[in-house]
């Protein structure tokens, strides 16, 4: 289960928007190869936490450490380059490019050839290598055969799979999934579950925001529950769902658990 070393550590993380404390004194750790679910009612601070980790927002207090280095205050591209890659709640494909090129954009930080080398006609070997890898990733998420397809022609579910392949192309050590199950059909959900397990099996730490508990609870090894920006419970899914504070937070929405 969660056997690896702690890769991503969040300590006393706090974010205020004006008078509203969106995240308040949040602590949790994410281990290598672990699938950790981040749940809570709407407005609990899940997305804010994601944006803090990904560098989209600056924090008011606390610390985020990745592989024992502080990363709070780094720009989003700097955090991605270190190996923490996020997906977005709504698919954000690069519209002017085919599927393969979208995945290659995800591999951006893996390229080493400088501009002068490219201008001189170099970098071809690296380009071919990354292309092969991108094709493998497209195959892994189940989009094989669609390499040259216009992203505009993909279904919603295929677009979600593309987002995942694109995120994997950056060789992440941590992946942040923002509600990946939203809008997917039951068969797509099943496929997504397999992919997420496959990602964790590669040793990548997975942090998952999810509303769909039927999808998340069988998948996650551990769950952190937020309410009003604070952590109210943490533990294996079967314990957390019976936790009194969690039941209270989800009161009237018990079916969701």
């Amino acid at each position: 289960m969660s056997s690896g070393a702690v890769l991503l550590e969040v300590r006393a993380l706090t974010k205020r928007f004006g008078g509203l404390t969106a995240v308040s004194g949040l602590d949790f750790g994410l281990r290598q190869g672990e699938i950790l679910g981040l749940i809570g009612p709407n407005g609990a601070g899940k997305s804010t936490t994601f944006n803090l980790i990904a560098g989209t927002y600056g924090a008011d207090a606390g610390e985020i450490r990745f592989a024992d280095e502080p990363i709070l205050g780094l720009a989003p591209h700097g955090i991605a380059a270190r190996g923490i890659i996020r997906t977005f709640q709504h698919n954000r494909p690069f519209g002017g490019m085919p599927v393969l090129d979208n995945v290659l954009v995800g591999a951006h930080t893996r390229f080493r050839s400088g501009l002068w080398r490219l201008v001189a006609g170099g970098g071809g070997g690296e380009e071919r290598r990354q292309r092969r890898r991108a094709e493998e990733l497209i195959e892994f998420v189940g989009l094989g055969g669609l390499e040259e397809a216009d992203v505009g022609t993909l279904s919603f579910g295929q677009g979600r799979l593309l987002e995942i392949a694109r995120a994997l192309a950056g060789d992440p050590r941590v992946i942040l999934f923002d509600e990946p199950a939203a809008g997917l059909t039951p068969s797509e959900l099943e496929r997504l579950g397999d992919i997420v397990r496959g990602i964790a099996a590669r040793g990548i730490a997975v942090l998952l925001i999810e509303h769909d508990m039927r999808f998340l609870l069988p998948l996650a090894q551990r769950v952190v529950v937020l309410n009003f920006g604070a952590k109210i419970a943490e533990g294996p899914p079967h314990e957390v769902r019976r936790h009194p504070a969690v039941m209270e937070a989800y009161l009237g929405d018990a079916a969701a658990l």
Binding site: P76, H77, R92, M97, H108
Partner: protein
């Protein structure tokens, strides 16, 4: 593309002027220069998504600086070329760095201001820029004891075009070109992929501006005169129109647009005189409203239907 294909393209373009008379040589040279400019502007506007109006001004910076550095500062040709490129890079960075973090609208304004300021500097530059009359009565220094003129100078322009195209094509078909397109399509998602958005924009702007400057240096010895009206806003918009009508984001589109809009006046002038600008206006509006992918988009569509 391989070196062989670029060389073949160069050979074709370089042989042609030897079969043309003086008049058509002049038309041909200017056509090649417009294609070069449109290719660079397409990378900036179409691929990188930056709405800038300074491309033609950098063409002017290159043209004026090579003449001033050669004949007023008496620099040797290679040094003058390097200094001219350095000047373009410095000016480009000075505009791009503050604009990169702002929304695209501010880059448009900053580059429009730069283009206007450049004309003011040219007009008020006294003996350095030659004022409203510009600089004239100079000719290209001999290179290795040889005088390059007539169709041989057209060969230089063909090399400029193919060289510019090769640089842009290679960058476009690399991680850098994909990063530029990603930044254009969705900056936030691009940043999430590890792309430094501001840096990518600044590099694309500076690179294409420097290429425009180099083209300007070559242009300076086409007519052997540089003067303010050439580098005015009218031509800045003409490159924009070329790229839009041809198809923004596609090299072939830039080429088609440049060829069409450059040659159209030659065809239309005998019929409607200077009213060809009206036709341009209609073409641009039609392209934006009916065919945002430009003429090359129509070609793609036809090919898909026939396939």
């Amino acid at each position: 593309m391989s070196w062989a294909r670029w060389l073949a393209a160069f050979a074709v373009l370089a042989v042609l002027p030897f079969f043309l008379g003086n008049y058509y040589n002049d038309v041909y040279r200017k056509l090649l220069l417009w294609i070069t400019l449109a290719l660079g502007y397409n990378f900036l506007f179409g691929i990188s998504g930056q709405v800038a109006f300074s491309h033609f001004a950098f063409y002017g910076v290159g043209a004026y600086s090579i003449v001033i550095l050669l004949f007023q500062f008496s620099l040797p040709l290679p040094l003058a070329v390097l200094a001219g490129i350095a000047l373009c890079i410095i000016v480009a960075l000075a505009v791009a760095i503050p604009s990169a973090r702002l929304e695209g609208f501010y880059l448009a304004l900053a580059t429009l201001a730069l283009a206007q300021l450049f004309i003011v500097v040219l007009n008020e530059g006294g003996s350095v820029t030659g004022g409203t009359g510009g600089l004239t009565n100079y000719r290209l220094p001999d290179v290795l004891g040889m005088r390059i003129s007539g169709p041989w100078y057209t060969v230089v322009i063909a090399a400029l075009l193919v060289g510019t195209y090769a640089v842009l094509w290679r960058l476009d078909h690399s991680w850098f070109g994909r990063a530029c397109r990603a930044v254009r399509d969705n900056p936030e998602a691009a940043a999430a992929m590890g792309i430094n958005v501001a840096r990518t924009k600044v590099i694309a702007f500076t690179l294409t501006s420097a290429l425009a400057g180099v083209a300007g240096m070559v242009y300076a010895f086409v007519d052997n005169t540089v003067n303010p009206p050439i580098f005015g806003l009218e031509n800045a918009f003409l490159i924009l129109f070329m790229v839009i009508v041809g198809g923004a984001g596609r090299h072939a589109g830039a080429i088609v647009g440049a060829v069409l809009l450059f040659l159209l006046p030659f065809v239309l002038s005998p019929v409607i005189g200077h009213h060809h600008v009206l036709v341009f206006g209609v073409l641009v509006v039609a392209a934006i409203l009916l065919q945002p992918r430009g003429l090359i988009g129509i070609y793609d569509e036809l090919r898909r239907r026939l396939a």
